[in-house]
Amino acid sequence: MSKYLYYPGCSMEGSGKAYHNSLMPVCEKIGLELQEIDDWNCCGATEYLGINKIPAYALIGRNLALAEAQSNGAQDIVAPCSACYLNLTKIDSYMAKKNGVDELINDALSAGGLSYEPGQLGIHHLLDLIVYEIGLDTVKEKVVRPLTGLRVAPYIGCMAPRYDYAKRWSDSEHPLELDWLLGALGAEVVDYPLKTHCCGGHMPQIGPDTAYELIHRLVDYAEEVKTDIMVAVCPMCQMNIDAYQNETNQHLGTKHKMPIVFFTQLMGLAFGMRERDLGFGSELVSAKEAIQKIGSEVPKKKRKKKDKFALPMPHPLGNGILKNGTNGKELILPTEGRARGGRA
Amino acid sequence: MTEKSNFEPTIIGFTCNWCSYRAADLAGIARIQYPANIRLVRLMCSGRLDPTFVLKAFAEGADGVMITGCHPGECHYLEQNYKALRRYLLLRRTLVAMGIEAERLHLAWASAAEGIQLAREITEMVERVRVLGPLNWHLNGDQVQITHDATAELEVVA
């Protein structure tokens, strides 16, 4: 059993309840013990930063300081929300540069009797933790009901792989971690080039026209590639695409009906857990129809006849370290379960 | 405070003939101003830097010592600057144990093209040492010291 400090983030108590409710049994199943950070506070999302920089940093600093104090120097933090994860890693990394930011934040923290030494805690997103620390082999072992027949669009969103302060992702624009995980669950993963494009962020609240457009782009392309269900790793992404889809339709005259659920919900299904224990049903665009496809016959792919004129493709990303031209910068290997970053 | 701001530290800077000494030349050619507190010694390489030189400088009255060399991977003699790095790290530990603030010994990399950077490093070094105040090792007295002022207790005993 690996033990981690759990920073849920505000959404997990509200709009992202399905995420929380599904990740708890799933983590237990794969041997992840989560201990909630006592008395954590909001990370400020993207809002506080636009008002006051140092207080916004200090707000995040308090969470880091609490975590450090509660970790006994042994545990890493895991955040399921990408925005929380980004904020935690960002402030940790800024402080670690030791160019004055650390002193300012610690000065502020000292007013509350706290302090934080940057770089001491590993900070993970739940997805990277499962892929790299738990490993896909462990996940595969637990699968009792493979998600065959389900066409899933892996939607990671922005803030997990960007800005990759903790250096945990295979790529910041086309990361493959969610593809691998969903593949391990037996689902049919569609090629979804918009996987890290924006869900609209806070725009539904402050500039709905922008938000409708961004939501439309994501859903429209998912439909284009015949997706049954989109998979999110962040409560804000899920909320925007799910809850504002109807409004988007009204506004743009579209007829999108694309369900989106959290990856932990699908893991739970594949592990044989009951839908209602995994928060299914709380989505506004129902996933019911999509879920029923699980287990359906997969039409056999027609083997594309190799065209005698076709030119070979370059080795795809992830063919390992290339012979030439890496210039000392290692290409990321997609080796499953490879631990990267974090504490040794 | 006033005493400190009047204090003009003396810094001895060790330079590499191929990079930082040339950077100093370049700073001159470009007329980049920096504090006159630094006095440079030319060596063929930062790898020539014998910790004795640093100790000597402190013992003779320097308030700070700067070691400069080629950037890692760019040593004219391939990798001797790494030896300077290793010695610097061990020497610094030793000096700290001797009560000399770590900031008084500084290692900076500067290529032959980095006149501006070298001037900036020098300026920062001077300011750091200015804040620390004089070291004055060369003035250390051999005066006989009174052991302890305990006359009062003594009378009680007597």
Partner: protein, 190 residues
């Protein structure tokens, strides 16, 4: 198009000021005007200026035009520009700085976004947690009263699916948090 900004010292120092406020490694002044940011931005179509243009205006000292621009408020913090910028400029951080300067100087034209941020912050300062329902009702009533009919099904949906808490949660260490934030505000002002 307005007249050029007066060529005052204050205006000329604008870029320096923004860079300094953003942090020592914002690298803002190294912008080469390549447009990677403007090309990458998912909400560029709704921006009065692309980020690149905004930086050119900063450099030109167009203080008023920059601080009243909607660009930073339309920024969705997707970080595409940050990972692609060939000069490694921390563009989202610059946007945050511009927002805070606009708020401090009251320079923004539309208060929707800044009000949302401020409401959010006040929730956090009162409870230590975000309070989605309170935030949404306060915000929508003020800025989007006309949107409410089309949003009602969603709100009811979320409520009925227990995805909105009726009451805010307050952390125990709210006093401690406010002491920290107060000190941070002092430091920011210094």
């Amino acid at each position: 198009m307005s007249h050029l900004a007066p060529q005052t010292e204050k205006n000329f120092k604008l870029m320096e000021q923004v860079a300094q406020k953003t942090g020592s490694d914002s690298k803002l002044e190294t912008c080469i005007q390549c447009g990677t940011c403007g090309g990458s931005c998912p909400s560029a179509m709704d921006m009065e200026h692309t980020p690149r243009k905004l930086f050119a205006l900063l450099r030109a000292g167009e203080r008023e035009e920059v601080l009243s621009s909607n660009t930073p408020w339309v920024c969705v913090s997707c970080y595409f520009c940050a990972v692609r910028c060939p000069q490694e400029i921390k563009i989202p951080d610059v946007m945050y700085t511009l927002k805070s300067m606009a708020v401090a100087e009251g320079a923004y034209r539309d208060s929707t976004a800044s009000d949302f941020s401020r409401t959010f912050v006040s929730m956090v300062e009162n409870y230590g947690r975000s309070y989605e329902l309170g935030l949404a009702t306060r915000h929508y009533l003020r800025h989007f009263p006309l949107r409410l009919p089309s949003m009602a099904p969603m709100g009811i949906g979320l409520l009925s699916k227990k995805r909105l808490n009726l009451k805010p949660k307050k952390i125990q260490g709210i006093k401690q948090l406010n002491a920290i934030l107060d000190r941070a505000k002092e430091l920011e002002a210094a």
